[in-house]
Amino acid sequence: MLTDALGGDAVAGALVLALVAASAVAGWSALYGP
């Protein structure tokens, strides 16, 4: 699935980018926790 991202599959590449963005959002959101 995601391994295709590095081989040029456009949808899988977009999914990896979306996950990178989601991961960053999660990291920043954790600032507001205890």
Partner: protein, 374 residues
């Protein structure tokens, strides 16, 4: 947590800048390492799991996106630990700043208010690729580390407390929208990926079964005292209870071991045998205790209703039956042949080295976590 990385703690702006850089590096490195391990574990479990993996990712994204809506709660697995205070006094400031970052980078050890990291971690696992795992999880650590920049202007203890209060009072709405939107995009793209992917249900069911039993075994070993209490509450005969303390987690651990060793059908049949034994014991406990059966399941130590227990066992049995009846996926791991005479010494040294490294890591983890507050 941000109050631990402020100029007032590090004695001035110049030292804080260096400490902040180390904090960010530590958080990014530990998150990347966590993603790398998840990708590697996924690979051992036969990932990528094609359509099945993409649908599971979309489902997880949907659950946690819904959890961002008001009045809907989706449980986020987390240990709710705080980085130990004593690190700051015991270690030099560069080591302490790096360790603080590393402690926060994995995320699940601390507090998590959103399920987005669960979905990202699942994606890393489902990728079956350590590099992709590191690429998608590392931004969590990077952003979490960088977020400490909010403390750059803190010069006094009072200002530090004001910042903490301000962060705690900031409305949840903006973060819910950001996390929910990110999850909707991930879920939508996962569904598009699923449409063009190969089947993968057999490998996915094997992985799910292996992970469920690995979690069950690990949670008992990690909290042996709680597990002993649960067994005592069942009132088993003395010999059976004593044997079950390590016998049950060992038997459970055999399921993932068989699965990654290339014998998924044997793993599934063994899982069915265990589930049968657990179900018989659940029924016996039902008759004895009524509607609250003591359960040592998956780290939970509270009594559960027999219906929930039987339903969960039935779901796991269904998973095991799927694995047993479907054609076995190609093994992700194959046993090497016997070593040649010249390879025996390097093999022994490598095994001893791995053992020593594992013991050192275990001891260091226990020691570094010694002052952790629940």
């Amino acid at each position: 947590m941000v109050e631990t990385i402020t100029p007032v703690v590090y004695g001035g702006r110049a030292r804080w800048t260096a400490a902040f850089a180390l904090h960010v590096a530590g958080a990014t490195a530990s998150a990347a390492m966590f993603g790398l391990i998840l990708g590697g574990v996924g690979s051992l479990l036969g990932a990528p799991w094609g359509r099945a993996g993409a649908i599971a990712l979309a489902a997880a994204a949907a659950v946690y996106a819904l959890g961002e809506l008001p009045r809907i709660t989706a449980t986020v697995p987390q240990l709710r630990r705080q980085v130990p205070d004593w690190w700051r006094e015991f270690f030099s400031w560069p080591v302490a700043a790096t360790l603080y970052g590393a402690g926060l980078g994995i995320g699940f050890f601390t507090y998590l208010s959103h399920g987005t990291l669960v979905v990202v971690a699942l994606a890393a696992l489902a990728s079956g690729d350590p590099l992709v795992g590191a690429i998608v999880v590392a931004p969590f650590g990077l952003a979490r580390g960088l977020s400490a920049a909010r403390a750059s202007g803190v010069r006094t203890q009072e200002a530090s407390q004001r910042l903490v209060d301000h962060l705690a009072e900031t409305p949840e709405r903006g973060r819910s929208i950001a996390n929910g939107s990110a999850l909707v995009v991930v879920g939508g793209l996962s569904l598009v990926t699923a449409a063009g992917a190969a089947d993968g249900w057999g490998a996915f069911a094997t992985a799910a079964l292996a992970l469920a039993f690995a979690w069950a075994a690990a949670s008992k070993v990690a909290d042996v005292r709680g597990w002993r209490r649960t067994l005592a509450a069942h009132g088993l005969p003395r010999g059976v209870g004593a044997a079950a303390v390590f016998g049950v987690p060992t038997a459970e651990a055999l399921v993932p071991v068989l699965a990654v060793s290339g014998w998924p059908r044997a793993a599934a049949i063994w899982a069915l045998v265990l589930l049968l034994v657990f179900t018989v014991e659940a029924l016996r406990a039902w008759r004895r205790f009524g509607p609250h059966v003591p359960c040592g399941c998956f780290g939970g130590r509270e009594a559960v209703s027999p219906a929930a227990l039987l339903l969960r066992n039935a779901a796991l049995a269904g998973l095991a039956a799927t694995v047993a009846l479907r054609p076995a996926p190609p093994p992700a791991f194959s046993w090497p042949g016997w070593p040649a005479p010249g390879e025996v010494l390097p093999m022994v040294l490598a095994i001893v080295g791995v053992g020593v490294a594992g013991f050192t890591a275990w001891t260091a983890t226990k020691w570094l976590g010694g002052g952790a507050r629940p």
